[in-house]
Symmetry: C2
């Protein structure tokens, strides 16, 4: 019996320029990347906000992927719009503009039909809103939190409070350093575990990721792609593959989590091969399983 996932995050239009092309008004937002990646594993309940410019076709596409949009509020105004340009090496990007629009006043409301969703993914929004979502759910089985440097620097106490209530924190390396205050990986992990989470996942982009728990460390490489066309959404897709796989585990234990970060790498790789969410569509469990096997083979002797 698969476990469904409640995701709270942004729904956006992205204008993206990379060395390999440009896209305007492309579908984006953490909740959308996450949902599409996770939808290949289990059912998704999405909570977010969009303007009345958000296309019906996008909502139909989400429905076709098993994403329930009862919790997607459509309000008067424009959808969150982000513009960015990547440098030649794709590891650096400049944000050209961030038009929050209707996202500025986002107050997540959890539909009654979502209240007993077993898995919760708190996407990268203000920690106070993440806490508010947590408080609206009676007893989620497993809670995963994402965040970003902005919240570490501006709302640290609220962030630390919500971190204390989650099972798994997913962050990147620079966020680990900023949040822990130390540059040593092992010391930083120790400090973050003391804040509460039993599990930590550190994203290292093209260098893969690692899982830290009481059982020690587990590493997986990133799945190497021929061409990374657009890194936008890679982290959210990684989280989608990870939490999506958790939805298929009878017991969410260390073994399940190890496999989950490998699936995270796989979904991240499909995301970056194409612009916007395109790499997450036209996927199936067979293609996903093939990359999982290939990636596991790359660490076997």
């Amino acid at each position: 019996m698969k476990k469904s996932i409640l995701v709270v995050g942004s729904v956006a239009f992205d204008d993206v320029e990379t060395p390999f092309g440009k896209r305007f008004n492309a579908l984006g937002g953490s909740a959308v990347f996450f949902s599409l990646a996770a939808s290949h594993f289990t059912k998704i309940n999405l909570v977010g906000v969009a303007g009345n410019d958000y296309p019906d076709a996008a909502i139909s596409m989400l429905h076709r992927h098993g994403v329930d949009t009862t919790g997607l509020e459509i309000v008067d105004g424009l959808t969150f719009h982000w513009g960015g340009r990547y440098h030649a090496d794709l590891n650096r990007r400049d944000t050209l503009y961030t038009q929050l629009n209707v996202f500025a006043d986002f107050k997540p409301k959890i539909p009654g039909t979502y209240r007993h969703t077993p898995l919760l993914f708190l996407g990268n929004i203000q920690p106070a809103l993440q806490m508010d979502v947590l408080n609206q759910l009676p007893a989620p089985e497993f809670v995963v939190l994402d965040t970003m440097n902005l919240w570490i620097n501006t709302t640290r106490p609220a962030l630390v409070e919500v971190i204390g209530k989650v099972n798994l924190l997913v962050i990147n390396e620079s966020e680990l350093v900023e949040l822990s205050g130390v540059s040593s990986l092992l010391k930083g992990l120790k400090i973050l575990h003391q804040m509460g989470p039993q599990y930590l996942v550190i994203k290292r982009g093209e260098y893969g990721s690692l899982l830290s728990s009481a059982d020690g460390l587990f590493y997986t490489p990133a799945f190497p792609v021929e061409l990374a066309a657009d890194p936008t959404g890679a982290g959210d897709s990684f989280a989608g593959g990870l939490v999506g796989y958790l939805g298929t585990c009878a017991n969410i234990d260390g073994t399940c989590l190890k496999r989950a970060i490998v699936y995270g790498s796989v979904l991240g790789s499909f995301c970056v091969e194409n612009f916007s969410v395109d790499g997450l569509l036209n996927l199936d469990r067979r293609k996903i399983a093939a990359r999982y096997r290939q990636l596991r083979h790359m660490v076997k002797i």
Copy 2:
């Protein structure tokens, strides 16, 4: 029956400053780091040059580690002396001075007793000298080459010629990009294989390393250390662990090479935990095997 290794490289004094301390006139040089790391696996024949200021105690220490120094020329003058300072994050360093001294006129001479050494490690010296060493050996079984950006930029044709004659090229990521002319990992590897080497090892520092061959890719993480005190010599120690392990394989095949890069990560980790060569001394096969097992465990599900 173990295979011995002939190593050609630098013998130096290092003045090093890192956030964790300073050392002056510390033992260094690629041939010395390599030899000490590899000495835990098999016998080493060292070819290099030092000035008459090089301490007898250092030579005795090499002998105690099974390093034959017949090929270490001692000439009138001062030993190669390098000074460098690391930044807070240890991934960046400034070279303060490079006094080549007797190393400026180094012409490797292979003693007759070394001519049938089965394994050859061509440390990072001018490609013309690397080729000269190759030409002095009748039929080495397996040849490993290291190089650096300097030779890629200044003596590319000579470097490409010697690369065409080796079995394994060990370089870091930025060297892969400069040598191949492309920033894509997979494309860069393809271009380098076409230059000749059957095996390529790409070093990624704290992110581990990967092996590329006709069988595909194999990844290993770096062994995570509590404290990296001094990264000097990490790459040479990695190569020493790698080639040292090759010396223990009856057949140098893909399986042997996969294990070898894991041993490379292990020896690199022992190196960086202490200043100079200190981390490579007082080691034994048991300590090395323990880290090998730990590192393999970190990728197992």
